[in-house]
């Protein structure tokens, strides 16, 4: 392992690997990435693999839009298959309040160039013939949203970064960060690296790295559970999100139906346990929305985490008073935002013109208290 680096990226998930790759692509040399377990072993590899632009804040919409733009050519750029498929997201409103919220979101999305449409229930049924719309009022659809393989994407960023000279060290846990007048050293279980620039890309683990520097980052790990079924022929098309059920269901290109939800009232800590209660509730939610799934078998369930921030938006950029310390936390949307966040962080660090409004996503917003909360999290 290198004992000195220009940049140390902590975290081998989609954001860490994207940041490392984009920094190297921008011309930064001597980059080391450290990951305590293996690549995509945390939130990235446990996520539902969806990518969507139908958000309710300007910043989330812009980061999502930039990610979708980058994804169009990413598999060529990284020279790897990423299973990117734009089969859309269908958001179901079950009451007037949800409909009003989703209409407001759609107006914002349209004003930023995101082509979301409001659909009648008949149109929604045309799109997803198996959907039971008896509890639905209205539906919203963006055909540019879709699916992306989290493992393939993370590995592709990592391999492309390595080709540009980045050193990636898995099974290398950070135990200390030496800070005097600036960042001086990152200490890991496998040795120390002298550096004056660190990027914390640890997703739901963000606050644990912050604690090393005596900082209290407002990012909490929130457990979300998920299951996947046996593979079937392609029959669903878009990801179906229901705010009434607080759940999502998507058929992945491989054929399995992936579905899940989280309970925001649980205590926030890293908890990889899965529960019978989830399986039971999720099965009910699934057969209510898509009765055709009744005879489809569940093969696996697991748990992962959203790193949630108080306003549901990413936390990106510098930390006031801590020279050389950067945050790159997607806050529950890390995987789907990783292309734009990686590019944006590389531009910020190298002083280039920004492609996403990182200044609006700084941790400083929590001091001023002027938060605009994301209303469309599931």
């Amino acid at each position: 392992m290198m004992d000195s680096a220009d940049v140390v990226v902590i975290g081998g998930g989609s954001i860490g690997c994207s940041v490392a790759y984009n920094l190297a692509k921008t011309g930064v040399e001597n980059i080391v990435l450290v990951e305590k377990n293996f690549l995509a072993s945390g939130a990235t590899g446990r996520c539902a693999a969806g990518v969507r632009q139908q958000w309710g804040t300007r910043e989330n919409c812009l980061v999502a839009k930039r990610s979708i733009e980058l994804l169009k050519d990413l598999s060529v750029e990284l020279d790897a298959e990423l299973d990117f498929r734009q089969s859309g997201y269908l958001l179901i409103a079950s009451n007037e309040e949800e409909r009003d919220q989703l209409e407001t979101n759609m107006e914002l999305q349209n004003s930023l160039g995101i082509p979301t449409k409001e659909l009648t229930l008949a149109e929604a049924e045309d799109l997803v013939p198996y959907l039971d719309t008896k509890d639905a009022k209205r539906a919203f659809f963006c055909g540019e949203d879709g699916h992306l393989d989290p493992f393939k994407t993370t590995f592709a960023y990592a391999r492309a970064a390595e080709r540009l000279g980045v050193e990636i060290n898995t099974h290398t846990e950070v135990t200390d960060i030496v800070y005097k007048n600036g960042i001086e050293q990152v200490v890991t279980k496998r040795g120390s690296i002298s550096t004056d620039l660190v990027v914390n890309a640890t997703g739901p683990g963000t606050k644990y790295i912050g604690k090393i520097l005596n900082l209290d980052h407002p990012v909490e790990p929130e457990r979300h559970q998920i299951l996947i079924t046996e593979p079937l022929e392609n029959m669903l098309g878009p990801m179906v999100i229901s705010f009434q059920h607080n759940s999502y269901i998507q058929q992945v290109p491989h054929g399995g139906f992936i579905m899940g939800y989280g309970n925001p009232n649980e205590p926030h800590y890293v908890n990889y346990k899965h529960s019978w209660r989830f399986l039971d509730n999720m099965a009910k939610k699934a057969v209510q929305q898509l009765p055709v799934l009744e005879d489809v078998r569940v093969v696996r369930q697991w748990a992962g985490h959203y790193g949630i921030s108080p306003d549901g938006q990413p936390i990106l950029g510098t930390v006031p008073g801590y020279d050389g310390y950067y945050l790159a936390c997607g806050c529950g949307k890390g995987f789907m935002f990783s292309p734009a966040i990686g590019e944006g962080m590389a531009k910020l660090i190298t002083g280039k013109e920004l492609s996403i409004p990182i200044e609006k996503m700084s941790i400083e917003r929590f001091e001023s208290g002027e938060l605009i909360s994301e209303p469309a999290v599931v």
Binding site: F38, L39, A40, S41, G45, F151, K152, F155, T170, T229, E230, P231, H254, H274, W276, L279, D280, A283, K284, A286, V287, L293, E294, D295, V296, R297, V298, V299, R300, Q301, W302
Partner: protein, 94 residues
């Protein structure tokens, strides 16, 4: 002509030859990572037929202890179960 291939994971078509190719390419790749790249052990058999076979093949190919390979987790449910049966189970319990 029948090709000379040995299937380790029958659900997701991981062959011994493909596994060797991956091990040759990435020195320190873990079984957890191989699982995620190839989908091996994640099919309808839930890894019951292939998981230990693959682990043993990795150990043999690298000439290392089986314990060092480390088996990916076994996950619930214990057998593939229909969503409809699960959804109705609590009602049946009374």
């Amino acid at each position: 002509m029948v090709e000379d291939r040995t299937y380790l994971c029958r659900c997701e078509d991981l062959t011994k030859e493909k596994l060797h190719e991956i091990l040759d390419k990435y020195d320190d790749i873990s079984m957890e990572e191989i699982k995620r790249i190839t989908r091996a052990t994640m099919g309808p058999c839930q890894g019951r037929t292939c998981k230990e076979l693959i682990a043993r093949e990795i150990a043999k190919y690298r000439d290392e202890n089986l314990e060092k390979v480390g088996l990916p987790s076994y996950r619930a449910p214990i057998t593939p179960t229909k969503l409809g049966e699960i959804a109705r189970s609590e009602e049946n319990d009374g």
